[in-house]
Amino acid sequence: MAQLGSFTLDDLKEVMRACAGVTESVDLDSDIADVTFEDLGYDSLAVLEMAAKLQNHLGVVIPDDVAEQLPTPRALAEYVNVRLAA
């Protein structure tokens, strides 16, 4: 996960679990970095909820229209890391 910088995929998984739960058929502990949120069972409302939580806890601003353009956990984590580093 080092390539993702200080905000890791595990950190993101924690946020996913906390604010939107986990679909019964999905194992978040498997390699899901490039699986789309949609395939993981997270709809647009779930992504907005995650973005708001990241914004509140990390101070990283993720506008709603940007959040909708981040299709996978890797994309969202990378977006957060770039802003954290800035």
């Binding site: 906390a18 604010c19 939107a20 739960g21 986990v22 019964e24 409302l45 779930a46 909820e49 708001a52």
Partner: protein, 406 residues
């Protein structure tokens, strides 16, 4: 080919029992689920006693994905719906999705969820209000989540008529069955025992301020002084009789033989409330005379004026001591949208087992309320037909007649 709506599944989440058989056993034994409010410290509130579903853990019954998205009231409704489908032996995957529907009642919506979000709003600011508030609070949330979870895409809806709502929902379910829907999940639930929800309910002036759980809610009694609020409810599976037989449904609890709803005249008009008419219309709809009813599950407001109105209406329809009357909700509190659904479940179980559950706590009937109220212990009786009566705050009245099927 006339279509008959029959009930093939029951799921119960009640303060005195989680699951149909747990609820029924407690109810027949007169075991109450009413106690001091534990969800928050009620010391500063005028209402301190309620019927909480205290042994319910959402994570054990609701998919984890849904828990953060939905209110406790929806957790209870989803659980009851899944149990009702199990009870009916009905696998939704085996039915065409557009031929299944969901019609539930809701009275408060997701107030506990809403209270949490409002607290975030005033303590931390708008960006802390969760996105799920938009779908968790509103009345149709439980209907929608049941529909999504089980893939039921027929004509779905929600009825908001306070305590009368679940009977209206079941009436609508019967209508859907008659017009071709194969299976309907119906009933109601409510769970609004948070400070915000309770404060809203208190504005009706009908809530009991009693602290003794055994004496706080005494409908038809000389000591009646309001009702105890509760949470939970029941969901039912309704199908067309011929289809249920064709798929060899494990149980057919009874038929929805009659249903009617009326509305009260405006306050102060001096005209008779609409309750008697609702009962008479439901009987007429069932094609039955009053003498054909073996038990009435009363609305049992616990407010002296409303108790007298109901007793007067029952006596007018059935004659003095003309029918056994009971109010097992004395062991749960009034569950609002869940209340009449739970009574309907009780009525169907009374038919199944030939026993009328008791009314708890009531010792001395108020003048004018001299009904044949089943008290002290359950009463064995042949129950072929039961009527459930409900009134919702704001003028709603509804009655349903269910009959044994062979």
């Amino acid at each position: 080919m006339s279509r008959h709506a029959v009930i093939t599944g029951i799921g119960v989440t009640a303060p005195n029992g989680l699951g149909t058989e747990a609820y029924w056993a407690a109810t027949l034994e007169g075991r109450s689920g009413i106690g001091p409010i534990s969800r928050f410290d009620p010391a500063g509130y005028p209402v301190r006693v309620a019927g909480e579903v205290s042994d319910f853990t959402a994570a054990e019954h609701v998919p984890s994905r849904l828990i953060p998205q939905t209110d406790n009231w929806t957790h209870l409704g989803l659980t009851a719906a899944a149990w009702a489908l199990d009870d009916a032996g009905a696998d939704p995957a085996a039915f065409p999705e557009y031929e299944m529907a969901v019609v539930t009642a809701s009275s408060s919506g997701g107030t506990e969820f809403g209270q949490r979000e409002i607290e975030r709003l005033w303590t931390k600011g708008p960006s802390w209000v969760g996105a799920y508030q938009s779908i968790a609070w509103f009345y149709a949330a439980t209907t929608g989540q049941i529909s999504i979870r089980h893939g039921m895409r027929g004509s779905c809806g929600v009825v908001c008529a306070e305590q009368a709502g679940a009977l209206d929902a079941v009436g609508q379910a019967r209508q859907l069955i008659r017009t071709g829907t194969r299976l309907v999940v119906t009933g109601g639930a409510d769970a609004s025992l948070c400070p915000y929800g309770l404060t809203a309910q208190y504005s009706s002036g009908r809530l009991s301020q009693g602290d003794d759980p055994g004496r706080a809610y005494l409908p038809f009694d000389v000591g009646a002084a309001g009702y105890v609020p509760g949470e939970g409810g029941a969901m039912l599976v309704v199908e067309n009789a011929a289809d249920a037989h064709a798929r060899a449904a494990p149980v057919i609890y009874g038929e929805i033989a009659g249903y009617a709803a009326t509305f009260d005249p405006r306050p102060g008009s001096g005209r008779e409330p609409g309750l008697r008419r609702a009962m008479e219309l439901a009987l007429a709809d069932a094609g039955l005379a009053a003498g054909g009813v073996d038990v009435v599950f009363a609305d049992a407001a616990g407010v002296p004026e409303l108790d007298l109105q109901e007793a007067t209406a029952i006596r007018a329809v059935f004659g003095p001591d003309g029918v056994p009357v009971t109010a097992p909700k004395t062991m749960t509190g009034r569950l609002y949208a869940g209340g009449a659904a739970l009574d309907l479940a009780g009525a169907l179980l009374a038919i199944r087992d030939g026993v009328i559950p008791p009314t708890a706590g009531v010792t001395e009937l108020a003048p004018g309320c001299d009904l044949d109220l089943v008290r002290g212990a359950a009463r064995e009786a042949r129950v072929g037909t039961a009527m459930v009566v409900a009134r919702g705050y704001g003028g709603f009245n509804a009655a349903i007649v269910v009959t044994k099927t062979d």
